[in-house]
């Protein structure tokens, strides 16, 4: 692949930061560029429900950005929620931003038009805060691109009081270290409450006119807020290639940063006005979040681990949000989002009520994202199939029962076949199955079993319809921080490619099974960024300077940029990505606390290697992972009766319908007795 001849992005400087009128409304300077680029509608805003915020000196202004294109970033609920909450306050104002496509950034740099917000087309660099939602690691170079396009120095150390504070949150922020030199402030956990705390902490500073040399002091003040991590307040020392310690520089800075957790989702019925874009975006439907957190304990899943405990939205509130949302937006499809929606206690009632509501004229379809096969019942299938259908997605993740015990996704083959049969029998034609390859202890037989499962599903479907098909989506496994697999050495890209080939061979010429897979080289770099430390920051910077933006897009990903950058920094991909880590190693993210005890994670890693599974703790005894006890919060469920007759293999009589007492149990629990 050709490495572009490019000696770095054209430097972008804002007009004087005090020239408010120049930065206020950039639209007259943006418009002439739009006929020269693809999809100009990405840059106009004007969504139904978008705010017209009024800025003032008495308000802290937030520029909240998703570091990808408009089509990918617009549906992000987190950003919409935070913007609504901030705009409701008297002391804050918030606008959204996204990263312009390469054709537009070229025009912007050539014409000195800086990165702008979409509500009022205001220069991003004129906001008090520029914040990013980090959902994935391959967008890190986009973060640098956005900061630079805003006319802000990309390194923390080069910024002064005239520049915004650069912040980041989201799941990838739980290992903040690779961007530690480029992001002033990270925020861990739920953002609803902490954005208010941060706003209040900054009001006095802004009112005082942000005096010279005050930036470090204000960052230090922010570091005292729970959930806030200011990398500059910590020193990382090395012992050779290993991390020796990560220590706070001041006594009043916490040793460990605890995430924020919103205890009651019912208090936060956001977004109240989901944005409806004028142009095409992904996930283009009404999205209603039904719960946060997950108790299934799948060992590969970072999202499930770091968002504990479970907090369900009250079923009545879900129903209201759906109804009001559909009426207001004119969408004809609603998606009930969470990590495992079929586990939502009120799911069948909610779906039934939505689909059956006469106000919806029988024209609304409900989509449920990636479903657990042991919770997807014929009853649910019947409800969801009443209106138009999108495809159905299941995520078995591993090809054999043995492997599923290793990853703690305790579903047996018959669970999958049962769910798929429920779906086909209710009229669905297309299934999508998600699998991972490169999991710990995976053997070739486990890998080829993936293809066998897919083929068997198609055979089941053929009993019901001529059009039965299965899309097999295969991803290379990337171990993540704060999971029991964080010590596992990732398969390198050659090994992942070999495994993908195995599956392809096993699928053979079966035209009903469509295999899709992720580029294993991109998985390698995802691994580098997700478990990297501060030294990786310079690698990211080099890749950005070489023109490596939009690395999460297949057409732009370039492995050579990364390997060359690693070499220039004297760092080893093998050491960061494919090496197995030791129990006594200091992990780069250890000072960030997602609520899980490190010894719980290590023990779970050992249990995994021994092939033991742990049941869902929402309905069964607690394993003291730390998530609930740490925060004094319990799992909040919308109904005491578990869905689908109860979780796997618990043996408890759950038909009684009263609350299940929580008792601490010894470890480990035995895996489900089913074959």
């Amino acid at each position: 692949m050709k490495v572009p001849l490019y000696d770095g992005p054209l430097p972008m400087t804002l007009r004087s930061a005090t020239d408010a009128t120049a930065n206020d409304n950039l639209w007259p300077r943006i418009e002439p560029l739009l006929m020269r680029v693809q999809k100009p509608a990405r840059y106009i805003g004007c969504e139904l429900g978008s705010a017209t915020p009024e800025h003032s000196d008495g308000k802290i202004s937030w520029f909240i950005a998703y570091p990808d294109t408009y089509e990918v970033g617009l549906p992000n609920q987190g950003i919409q929620i935070l913007c609504e909450i901030l705009n409701e306050r008297d002391d804050a104002v918030a606008e959204r931003g996204y990263v312009p496509w390469t054709d537009m950034t070229e025009q912007m740099r050539a014409n000195r038009v800086p990165l702008f917000s979409l509500e009022t087309h205001r220069a991003a660099g004129s906001f008090d805060i520029v914040a990013f939602n980090l959902a994935a690691e391959l967008v890190y170079t986009n973060v640098l691109e956005a900061v630079d396009l805003a006319g802000v120095p990309i390194r923390n150390e080069d910024r002064d009081e005239s520049h915004p504070i650069v912040m980041a949150g989201g799941h990838a922020a739980y290992n903040p270290e690779p961007l530690a030199d480029y992001v002033d402030v990270f925020v861990m956990g739920d953002g609803e409450e902490v954005v208010g705390d941060i706003t209040e902490a900054l009001i006095g500073w802004k009112a005082s006119g942000k005096p010279q040399y005050s930036r470090q002091d204000v960052l230090r003040e922010l570091s005292k807020i729970q959930g806030v991590y200011v990398p500059a307040m910590y020193e990382v020392t090395y012992d050779g290639v290993n991390i020796a310690a990560v220590e706070p520089r001041h006594a009043d800075v916490p040793e460990m940063v605890l995430k924020r957790t919103v205890a009651d989702l019912g208090e936060w019925p956001y977004p109240k006005q989901q944005l409806v874009p004028l142009t095409e975006v992904v996930h283009d439907r009404l999205n209603v979040e039904v719960f946060r957190g997950c108790t299934r304990g799948c060992r590969f899943c970072q999202a499930g681990m770091i968002t504990r405990p479970v907090r369900e939205r009250p079923a009545d509130q879900v129903r209201t949000m759906i109804q009001d949302g559909l009426m207001r937006t004119g969408y004809d499809e609603v998606s009930l989002t969470s990590l495992s929606t079929a586990d939502f206690s009120g799911i069948e009632r909610v779906v039934g009520d939505t689909v059956g509501d006469p106000l919806n004229c029988g024209q609304v379809s409900v989509s449920l994202p990636s479903l657990r096969v042991d919770a997807f019942t014929v009853g649910l299938a019947a409800q969801v199939s009443n209106a138009r259908r999108s495809g159905l997605t299941f995520a078995p993740e591993a090809g054999t029962w043995r492997m599923r015990q290793v990853i703690n996704k305790l579903i047996v083959d018959d669970d999958l076949f049962g769910a798929v049969e429920s779906a086909y029998s209710e009229g669905w034609h297309r299934m999508k199955l998600y699998f991972l390859t490169g999991l710990p202890s995976e053997m070739d037989d486990d890998t080829t079993a993936i293809a066998d499962l897919a083929k068997r599903c198609v055979e089941i479907g053929e009993q019901y319809t001529q059009k039965a098909s299965v899309t097999l989506s295969l991803g290379g496994f990337v171990p993540k921080a704060h999971t029991p697999f964080q010590w596992f050495g990732q398969n390198d890209h050659r090994e992942l490619s070999r495994k993908i080939e195995l599956v392809r061979g096993a699928v053979g010429k079966n035209r009903r099974v469509q295999l899709k897979w992720h580029d294993s080289r991109a998985s390698l770099i995802e691994g580098l960024a997700s478990r990297g430390d501060r030294r990786i920051g310079r690698v990211i910077e080099r890749v950005w300077r070489a023109g490596g933006v939009f690395q999460e897009w297949g057409e732009h990903f370039n492995l050579q940029l990364w390997t060359e950058a690693m070499e220039a920094e004297g760092l080893s991909l093998e050491w960061y990505v494919t090496r197995h880590r030791h129990e006594d190693e200091i992990l780069p993210w250890e000072h960030i606390h997602a609520g899980l005890h490190k010894d719980f994670l290590w023990q779970d890693w050992q249990d995994s290697l021994a092939g033991h599974g742990l049941e869902d703790c929402r309905w069964t005894p607690c394993y003291d992972c730390g998530a609930c006890t740490e925060y004094g919060v319990e799992h909040i469920v919308a109904s005491p009766v578990p869905p689908a007759g109860g979780s796997q293999g618990t043996g408890q009589d759950l038909t009684i319908g009263t609350s299940v007492p929580v008792t601490l149990s010894g470890r480990p629990a035995s895996a489900g007795a089913r074959a």
Partner: protein, 261 residues
């Protein structure tokens, strides 16, 4: 296709503008915007049959992305109201239980549409009439040529109009097509100076294909960009006379009528 009340569906022919920032959306975006607006207003639109029912809406000639317009059209197929009164419909969805009347319908639609898309007039007519795509023969356009002054523009226009043929090659769906543009240019004039350069107006044929002003700019001023382009009229020409599908008087009159034709 029969409606709930047993009456045949009626066709609403809607005339609307596309101005301001919304001009940067594409034709498919406009279709989606209308679909959602209709649903929010609760207009009892007829749905297509089949596996994936869609509202029965058909558009006139597509407007290229980036152009403004003083008059775009769409036809909506609607179930008539139980009362039988023309132009009165029974709301569905959010307006279930209410009646949608002409003036109220216009207001509701305008509230449901983005800024810059405004309904100017609605005509009620026969579902079996000619489709918009078939009926339109010519369009009037206004556009500017960036950094091109009036003197140069006047000279270029005279040269173009005096030419006997204007060969032009363009890419259409990945293939190169050549044709002669001259017969498509019915009128071309320089009007004055605008924000970015000379302002021109043109009447261009829509049949056998829609000719765009950008094609003229490549001939008049190669290397210059077009700016501020707008479609100002769409015409149905018959026997030497021409009319718009739904007339609209641009002089200030905030309400317009629904008329049976």
């Amino acid at each position: 296709m029969r409606s709930r009340t047993g009456g045949r569906p009626v066709r609403l022919r809607v005339r609307f503008t596309k101005r301001g920032k919304v001009r940067y959306t594409g034709h498919r975006d406009v279709a989606r915007i209308w679909e959602r607006a209709i649903r929010r207003v609760g207009l009892p639109v007829v749905y297509t049959e089949g596996f994936s029912p869609r509202p029965k809406v058909s558009f006139g000639l597509a407007l290229p992305t980036g152009y403004q317009s003083d008059g775009e059209y769409l036809d909506i197929s609607v179930h008539p109201g139980a009362s039988g009164e023309p132009g009165v419909f029974d709301g569905v969805g959010p307006t279930t239980g209410t009646q949608l009347e002409p003036a109220g319908l216009m207001t509701l639609l305008n509230e449901a549409l983005p800024v810059g898309m405004d309904v100017q007039a609605i005509e009620l007519n026969d579902d079996r009439g000619e489709s918009l795509q078939q009926a339109i023969t010519t369009c009037s356009w206004r556009f500017e040529i960036r950094d091109f002054d009036v003197a140069d523009a006047t000279e270029a226009v005279a040269k173009l109009l005096s030419a006997r043929e204007l060969p032009s090659t363009r890419l259409h769906k990945g293939n190169e097509r050549s044709d002669d543009l001259r017969p498509a240019v019915h009128r071309l004039e320089v009007q004055g100076t605008g924000n970015d350069g000379a302002v021109l107006v043109a009447d261009l044929a829509a049949k056998p294909r829609l000719v765009r002003p950008s094609e003229l700019v490549s001939i008049l001023a190669p290397g210059h960009e077009m700016a501020g382009a707008a479609r100002i009229h769409q015409w149905i020409e018959t026997d030497g006379a021409r009319r718009e599908p739904v007339p609209f008087d641009a002089t200030p009159a905030p309400h317009t009528e629904m008329c049976a034709s």
